[in-house]
């Protein structure tokens, strides 16, 4: 419902990954009694559930960095997890190279998992503390039965070098690395199976500024060298603008605006995009600072999810749901005032 049909005449640029009207619900924990009751009913009670992703369409084009921006609770991490099938959609489809993931056989899914890799936000908790760097990096190769032991060792050395770690460190355990080194290790692990698409969830937000820049530059140079496609999930608009070719801004489980980086500031953006931009530093005027809080996911407002905080809200925003409308060839926006 939320987006226009796929663009025509762009056959050469078939998306590597496409989401079609994807929805994802989560059941809030309501205690044992209601859980037993729902088992009894043997079906999910959609009425009481929380919609983390509310039916949205998005495409990832080969070779691009797509920046997914939003605040906590906006659904951006859920969307990232839907993209690599860490979550399965409750409605809609996730298409990988044009084919629905739900129809993949077990073997095909295994191949998909090698080609689409996920990098988690917190490097400390996403590395197994009992595995050395070498074991962490060879695990994927072993599962996919790639290479002999000698070949795997060589691959580990190359990977470590590629992310700027000395190969001597391969016998160390995660706690012996610094935060920045751990994030490099996570990156090496994600690259070990030569993926086509890398989904990075807040890759630098757990790091200090001076280390953050090292990781960002590394991601950018790897993207170039390997021709990677990337989805960058972040709450930091400045960071996303630096890295991404295209931005997708989420709020309350919906996309608010999708636009190329080159258009930033040159068009009449969605009010939420303007507010995010204004919050980058504290010199902006107070009237650009949003009042209120993001919507309660269990009790979202009627109409546009942003309407209670929107400085431009009108009656229609409180009544009618928003739809993504294409305003320019490569820019879509979900705002009644801009439709």
């Amino acid at each position: 419902m939320n987006a226009p049909a796929p663009p025509k005449g762009l056959a050469g640029e078939a998306p590597i990954l496409a989401l079609r009207s994807v929805r994802k619900y989560f059941m809030p924990s309501q205690g044992l009694a209601s859980e037993i009751a729902s088992l009894w009913r043997k079906k999910r009670d959609v009425a009481g559930s929380v919609q983390a992703v509310k039916g949205l369409d998005l495409e990832v084009k080969p070779g691009e960095i797509l920046g997914l921006v939003g605040e906590s609770g906006s659904g951006k991490s859920t969307l990232g997890r839907l993209m690599c099938r860490l979550h399965e959609p409750d409605q809609g489809q996730v298409l990988y190279e044009g084919r629905d993931l739900a129809l993949f056989s077990k073997a095909e899914l295994k191949g998909f998992r090698a080609k689409v890799q996920f990098m988690f936000q917190d490097p400390a908790s996403s590395l197994n503390p009992r595995l050395t760097a070498r074991s962490a990096l060879t695990e994927g190769l072993t599962i996919h039965k790639l290479g002999t032991r000698a070949e795997k060792n060589l691959k580990v050395n190359l990977l470590m070098e590629e992310v700027g770690l000395s190969a001597d460190l391969a016998s160390r355990y995660p706690h012996q690395f610094s935060g920045g080194q751990r994030q490099r290790l996570c990156l090496a692990r994600a690259l070990s199976l030569d993926p086509k698409l890398l989904i990075a969830d807040e890759p630098a937000s757990a790091l200090d500024v001076s280390i953050q820049a090292q990781i960002i530059n590394l991601l950018l140079s790897l993207k170039e060298r390997r021709g990677l496609t990337m989805v960058l999930i972040s709450h930091d608009l400045a960071l996303v603008c630096l890295m991404a070719d295209r931005l997708a801004v989420m709020y309350g489980g919906l996309l608010m605006e999708v636009f190329p980086r080159s258009l930033l500031g040159k068009v009449d953006h969605h009010p939420y995009v303007k507010a995010l931009w204004a919050s980058i530093d504290s010199t902006s005027k107070s009237d650009l600072i949003l009042e209120g809080e993001p919507p309660d996911p269990q009790n979202p407002p009627p109409g546009c999810p942003f309407n209670p905080r929107c400085p431009e809200a009108e009656d229609i925003c409180r009544e009618r749901e928003i739809r993504m409308i294409r305003l320019e060839p490569d820019r879509s926006c979900a705002c009644h005032r801009r439709a």
Binding site: V209, L242, S282
Partner: protein, 331 residues
Amino acid sequence: MPENDPLSRPAPRDVLVKVKNLSVGFARGEILAVKGIDFELLPGEVVGLVGESGSGKSMTALSLMGLLPHGATQGSGSIFFKGRDLAGLGKKERRELCGDHMGMVFQEPLTALNPVLTIGEQVSEIFRLRRGMRKAQANKAALALLGQVGLPNPAEAAKSYPHRFSGGMRQRVVIAMALALDPELVIADEPTTALDPTIAAQIVWLLRDMAERRQTGVLFITHNLRILAGLAQRVLVMYAGILVEQTMGDFSDPLHPYTMGLLKALPPNPSEGQAGKLTPIPGQPPSPSDRFPGCPFQPRCPETIDLCQNALPPMAQVSPGRLVRCHRRPR
């Protein structure tokens, strides 16, 4: 305010806080988190303290409040509050200082609030214990305060428990508690780090507004340089336990190579710069257990000379209010 409180009488000096050669150590001083820092804070002034993790900025804040964690001790140096040496204060006097004269806003508002007490109980407790108010009177004061920090429905909020609140709302409550007794100084230790950008902007505005209206001095500790731009009059930059620079709040003319490096490592504001690569600072900050005779930034510094390895440069005044600790400055 209790009548026997020595600090309620105005001190002759203007300086609110004066920190002299403060150091904080762990393991009997084997490891130094803060290695001798000096600074002053004037009444009503907002000062930023920036640094990366491990630079000692939080330890500085905690030693000001007298809240150093177990195992950490204040080594050399002294802290003067309104001209009075805090080291000479007993436990009871120190306790009276906290709240009445100094308030603290912590990074993680959820752990700063007691989960088994309602918001109203926690806020009114301050007025009951420290101002000797009756319950009804204290509740009234608490509601007024919660309204001032922008909670939309104070009466409803007072009856709720902290877990019902969002991060931003919790931080408003923590700010309310820090300001409850109208202290002269508020120490805010990374108050916006756990918050989303639009909410962080609200909290910065709230702090700035409250501080201005009450003429409260604020020590605002953060690793986010941008957030200080419209907030702080002065910024202290910390690296590996020492102060390396004191500069303007908007970082318009940084002098120390570390400050310059930090600014270059930051993703540019999209309205200013076009996409491109960042310039990271190579290497990593030293570990607190490392000992070196020279400048701690020397191994990462692009401008290093032989002298930097052997001698720690002194803090030198470049112009009024601007200090830098570097052998290569002023050039």
